[in-house]
Symmetry: C2
Subunit: 344 residues, 2 copies
């Protein structure tokens, strides 16, 4: 008989409209068997260690149809990226004791029924939590979006919105390594300081202190913007369009300013796409995971040599998960928001 | 002494706001010397034969700064594409008697001070007016936008708005030649018939009879849209975004529905760029003129073999120019709008 243990879970209470509240995610305790099903050949049971809070998760809290990713199921645990220890496995590539990162449940233990979205962690000389961020989905997002879509060249000007977040802080550092001029926007003085003094952005501003984004961008980019890494959408995008240079590129990674609106803001300046011959392209990291080995080869040495840095905002305990996740949408987090479920 | 002749001109009365009126362009008669200046080495004097009415010209009627192209000068003739006969030349590539197409004035005779934007007409076994359309700027626009930006593949679904216009009718025919499924939108029953019966679109609809573009597009594209050739902007673009397929491409050629608005409509569904990984790219034909020889090689035989057809709406006489140009914005033209200044 396999061991059965109590399993604390964070479950979605009901589909969410508008701005999510902590109380939309509630604690539930159930029982889990720490063994993969006998008839499985691609499953793992894991002990969850770190959980990742990411803006895209807001979409899964809504009742939607035909999205690129399913809604969460009310009454069931939230699903997200995490780092976990394998307790049992029916897949030959994953052994008991292995560390993995990938999609898992917001709970102490998870049965992951397919290892398709699961990566084995091979390098443990960095903080394990990095696999929720710089070495995980957000890292790959920054890497694919910046190098594959923005096609940066030395000397170009780069604007990053939500620049101190899990993805933005990396885009800015990649851009600096490429020899670009980089400005970031963020939502507090402290974050602006981080951008300038910790991540090495050439400049940064607090968008909450700016009333006219067009004028702001003209001040920070008197010669225009060649590359915009878009994380926020709405009014900022409209102002960016007015300030893009000819043949500029916009990688559309996220639009966090829009996620909790019942109706999205309208973007008025799309005519600039024509006059400035701008390429604007949306992407999802899932399409780029084949580049993960190449990404690790690039980024691990940069971390080890101290050429790239990463700031995390760590919340302690599964119970802190709802507050940590909801905090993303008011920008309460500083850097990558992680929830520690267990420190081994 | 060079011959001096009377020269009827259509001049912009004043900068235009909102919807332009015929009376914004007025007739003026001046005198012109039919000889290039003695100190010139790159000028031609021409007799204008055909003038082209194109939607982009609306932008030049406004007082704008920092656009990709200068405003017209009030009191001076409108500038646009045209076909003309060379009367005198100081450039070795252009001889008296040559036919050319390129930017010229809305007047009987023009002194073109630089031949940079002027192409010599080599093939005259097609109607000369075609060099304002299928073999001129609109033809190159359709060609570059469709082949270079949309990267079409056989079997893909293509939607073209303003589909019976100078550019749209060609895009649809190129798409059919490529083996795509093509639907066009236009603004009258007659134009819809043209699309289906003359240009060989698989289907077409009158957008003025549709109240819910999203539902309309779902009806015509039950399996979604792979390629959108954007000529209109606004509400149609918003509905298209909802109906694009994964990895769809949008070539942004024009946004004629927006040109006469004091404030552009907001586009709300840009988040679809992310979830569907859409590439949306604006372009101007000026960047693609190096492809003109290749374009002629492709399109001339298609015209000669009757595999491609072209519908023009011919207005007789320079005096009919203002009405012809303004008519574009209410969709009064059927096909490419041309003004005949002189038939030789």
């Amino acid at each position: 008989m396999a061991e059965e243990v109590s399993n604390k879970q964070m479950v979605l209470k009901n589909y969410v409209k508008g701005f999510p509240k902590e109380s939309d995610i509630i604690l539930k305790t159930s029982i889990i068997k720490l063994k993969v099903p006998d008839d499985s050949n691609d499953a793992v049971v894991v002990k969850n260690l770190y959980l990742s809070c990411d803006p895209y998760m807001r979409g899964r809290m809504s009742e939607t149809e035909g999205s690129y990713i399913d809604s969460f199921t009310p009454g069931s645990p939230i699903i997200g990226y995490g780092v976990a220890r394998v307790l049992d496995s029916s897949h030959p590539n994953f052994k008991t004791g292995d560390l993995i990162w990938g999609l898992t449940g917001w709970e102490e233990y998870s049965l992951i029924k397919s290892t398709k979205g699961v990566f084995k962690i091979q390098h443990t000389n960095v903080p394990l939590s990095y696999y929720t961020g710089i070495l995980g989905m957000p890292g790959m997002t920054a890497y694919a979006g910046f190098y594959e879509l923005c096609l940066p060249k030395k000397g170009e000007t780069v604007f990053v919105s939500a620049a101190s977040g899990a993805v933005g802080q990396l885009v800015g550092q990649f851009a600096k390594l490429m020899g670009c001029y980089v400005v970031g926007s963020a939502g507090s003085k402290y974050k602006v300081d981080l951008l300038k003094n910790k991540f090495g952005f050439d400049d940064a501003f607090n968008y909450k202190e700016e009333s006219d984004f067009n004028a702001t961008l003209k001040r920070y980019f008197p010669n225009g913007i060649d590359i915009y890494f878009e994380n926020v959408g709405g009014k900022m995008l409209d102002a960016v369009l007015l300030n893009m240079n000819l043949h500029g590129r916009i990688a559309v990674c996220g639009m966090i300013s829009q996620y909790n609106l019942e109706e999205p803001e309208g973007v008025q300046n799309l005519f600039c796409l024509i006059t400035k011959r701008i390429r604007m392209e949306g992407f999802l990291v899932f399409d780029y995971y084949h580049l993960y080995p190449k990404f690790l080869e690039t980024v691990l040495p940069l971390i080890e040599e101290g050429k790239i840095t990463y700031v995390e905002d760590i919340a302690e305990g599964l119970e802190s998960g709802p507050s940590a996740l909801i905090g993303l949408f008011s920008g309460r987090n500083v850097g990558k928001q992680v929830v520690v479920v267990a420190r081994e």
